[in-house]
């Protein structure tokens, strides 16, 4: 991949330092990226990767250091300056206009002025079609962006960059929003771009991905470059250690479970959605105290509705739920909470946290109404603050203070806030919906350990996750859900991953009839 041109790096960043009040986001970072290279930037959330790329893209000015393009020092004033120098960025959140077509989105902001104020659609379409053909994009230039899948939208973003003749393409966690299938496709595409002589900076915290795609890996921790590795010469374990700064257990030792009496008993639970479709046509399951039941399933097989019924947000249309021998069918979320049900939602920004609120308020979001946080209708600010400080310490939540807005925290620390909140009190049942989605290895390890600890304290744990690896790793038992039914139950320690995968995809042989009718 690296030809004779590689003698001068396409991009060199020297001694980049960026200080924010109270934080050094980048501390003398050196980075060089060659032509035709896929260069991974690896680091935990908050390590300083994004800051570095913002500097490259002209969104932030470094306090020290210089940037060289093809060996020449440049000052990058703003993003449009960066683009004109051949640097493009594909953000995690796409900057697309949903109501416009692919071609219109690609051209937006880079319209040719040949026809004065009028858009030369034909010329634009021609160029887009040529680019798409060259790199094997499968995109209809006239399709409305709003109707495209997330993976396709990402390709529109990349096409945008190519249309602007990007030589250096920065992708900020491009796989975070993709399915495994789409991830494979994007990797093929990125490799083609690199082979064409372009440089790609690939930001990620997923170890296996980085090993799969990168030519070179630079690891950043707390604003500093910690190491430079080539995929063939390193391992996931080593990268994880570089990233986190200590040895990381990539697989948590789930230990032996000490299973107690029956805790959660669900019998023939039926749940319908807003359109009166029966999404869960009858689920029965049991979880005993001190046991983790993992629910494996492809997203959209009734997991959300099942969870919503169990936490009281959705009234079941039939069946029975009891907790520790008490019937809790159809109880409100508040009653569930009182009964000892804890819940970690899948979409923490939407359902789990109030980002504009200070950390201490999010730490009591589900228990604010109880003593000691409230006395009757009055809140006790001192008790809230006191408990917040204790939890911040206990769960190692990295915040300057518990009264900063929760939005300023990294994803891992935000998830820790939810975990701290739900795990802090004695629970009978803990429901976890994708508890480690989007987190870095250090945070995943921490949260998995907390789950095990909660289990060992005698809580029944229901774990729902689309990441089969996670379910396999920590569950004592695995139930496979398919079209709203539990189609198989397996032992968590002995289950075979490919067998579970097959059950998830087909529902096994339990439902051949349904398969046919569907």
């Amino acid at each position: 991949m690296t030809g004779e041109l590689a003698s001068v790096p396409a991009l060199e960043m020297r001694g980049i330092t960026k200080r924010y009040p109270g934080v050094v986001a980048n501390d003398h970072i050196d980075l060089d990226v060659r032509r035709g290279e896929i260069h991974a930037l690896l680091g935990e959330n908050g390590a300083g990767k994004t800051t570095l790329m913002n500097i490259l893209y002209g969104l932030a000015r470094p306090n020290e250091g210089e940037i060289l393009l093809d060996g020449k020092t440049v000052q990058i004033a703003d993003p449009s300056d960066a683009i004109s120098r051949g640097i493009s960025m594909v953000h995690q959140h796409f900057m697309l206009v949903p109501v416009l077509s692919v071609a219109e989105n690609v051209v937006l902001g880079a319209e040719t002025m040949a026809r004065g104020p009028f858009l030369d659609r034909r010329e634009a379409s021609k160029r887009i079609a040529a680019l798409a053909a060259q790199f094997g994009f499968e995109l209809d230039p006239d399709a409305r962006v709003g109707s495209l899948s997330v993976g396709q939208q990402q390709r529109v973003e990349i096409l945008k960059a190519l249309y602007r003749d990007a030589q250096i393409l920065v992708l900020d966690e491009p796989t975070a929003v993709l399915t495994p299938q789409e991830t494979d496709e994007i990797f093929v595409l990125l490799r083609r771009l690199a082979d064409d002589g372009r440089s790609i900076i690939f930001i990620s915290h997923k170890l296996y991905e980085v090993l799969a795609i990168a030519d070179r890996i630079t690891v950043i921790r707390r604003g500093r470059v910690i190491g430079d590795r080539k995929p063939g010469e390193t391992t996931e374990a080593e990268l994880a250690e570089l990233m986190v700064g200590r040895e990381v257990e990539l697989t948590v030792d789930r230990g032996a479970s000490h299973v107690g009496g029956p805790m959660l008993h669900v019998e023939g639970l039926r749940v319908t959605d807003e359109r009166k479709h029966e999404i869960v046509p009858g689920v029965s399951l049991d979880i005993r105290a001190g046991e983790i039941l993992g629910i494996a399933g492809v997203a959209g097989n009734g997991q959300d509705e099942l969870i919503e019924a169990l936490i009281g947000l959705r009234k079941p249309s039939g069946g029975k739920v009891s907790l520790d021998g008490r019937d809790i069918t159809g109880c409100s979320p508040r009653d569930m909470n009182r009964a000892g049900v804890g819940y970690v939602p899948g979409d923490r920004h939407r359902f789990g946290l109030i980002l504009s609120f200070p950390v201490y308020d999010n730490l009591i979001l589900t228990s604010y109404y109880r003593e000691p946080y409230s006395h009757g209708p009055l809140r006790d600010g001192a008790a809230v603050a006191e408990s917040a400080d204790a939890q911040v310490a206990r769960f190692d939540i990295r915040v300057p203070s518990s009264n900063v807005a929760t939005s300023t925290l990294s994803g891992g620390n935000q998830q820790k806030v939810i975990v701290a909140r739900e795990f802090e009190r004695p629970l009978k049942l803990l429901i976890l919906d994708q508890p480690t989605r989007g987190l870095d290895v250090g945070s995943i390890e921490f949260i998995h350990k907390q789950i095990i600890a909660k289990r060992d304290a005698g809580t029944a744990v229901l774990l729902v996750s689309a990441e089969l690896d996670e379910v396999m790793e920590i569950s004592d038992r695995i139930a496979v859900i398919y079209r709203g039914r539990i189609v198989a139950e397996l032992d968590g320690r002995t289950a075979d991953k490919s067998a579970v995968g097959l059950l998830m995809a087909t529902g096994g042989e339990a439902n051949p009839a349904e398969e046919a009718t569907a």
Partner: protein, 408 residues
Amino acid sequence: MSAPAGTAGSGFSLRDWGSSLFWTLAESVTAILLAVVVGGIGITLFSGFLPNNHPAFDVGLPFAAYGALWSGAVGSINGIGSTLSYATPLALAGLGVGLGFKAGLFNIGGRGQFLMGSVGAMAVVTVMGPSQNGLITVPLALIVGGLFGAFAGFIPGALKATSGAHEVVTTIMLNYIFVFATYWAISGPLRLPNSPQAITADASAWGAALPTIHIPEVDILGLHLFGADVLGRDAHYGILLAVLALPVIWFLLFRTTLGFEIRAAGANSDAARYAGMKTKQLVVLTMSMAGGLCGLAGATTLLGVVHQMAPGYDTTIGFDAITVALVGRSNPVGIGLAALLFGGMRAGAQTMQISPGVPGELVDALQMFILLFLVINILRRWMAKRPTGGSALTTGAEVAPLAAEVSK
């Protein structure tokens, strides 16, 4: 993020709080100053077109105008009293709108709620008849006025909770209904019998007015103290209601579990619902409280200032209160200050119109400019924060996060 965990708490807290408050204040103050400058330029440019014969491009006129505004608002005891009396409904209705903002609701129905509050208060006065005991009527009229306003707020709240009808649409539409309901009340049940024109009783003539704040003369060791309208002739006791409401609403928002729920539902209603809060009930309750506050604004204005309703009885408070809530960032402290600012501008406007003869519309223009500059900033922040890709593609016009942004 790299700070040591947990323990660093209190050291940073005050500074964080201080700086965010500083920037919030700075944003409002900047908008006000910009508006003053633009307004001044406007007066100079249009001085030649004013009805009362000013020279064209009169550079001195803005200074004269602002000077008159200032002296009219705070230059005398009567001016201060007038400022306070104008600030009272602004503060009450501003709290009503601000409370809505905190809950993620755009209450555009201040006008209708104010009118219903006035109608409620006048209904009590009418029922009690020509000679009544103000000590009984006035509190009763205030309560009924507040309840009428609360009902006017309850309707859009209930519509939102039950059918999801957006409160912006319903409150605007209800405003028209309440305006005509007010006409109807004035020309029907509240109309004075025998009157040649539709007009209601005069609360002051019937002994049901909120009296001017007056401290009786006391004789201490030969010194004659007080015995005066301490805040001038316009300062009525309704002012105390606003002075009381500000800390009460502050306390509600920041010191009670209900306030926590309101703020949580406003900032992220999904998360609030997942946390077990009854968000629909909160919408109804918050809108009712907001309506009640706007209704109190109407009741105090009627009993303290206007005393009587004629067919033209109306208010711009619904709009003004939005500005007050925005400038005050929906915080009761800020709302109090903003109410004083706009109340002062209105009190000063009278002096300014008489001499140097600048139209009172200047005050409206200033208010609009302040709003404009603030909204530009708020929108800019909201746009910057709004996710633009992925899931956002499916989101339509979701206003609640904007309302939350507004309340920062």
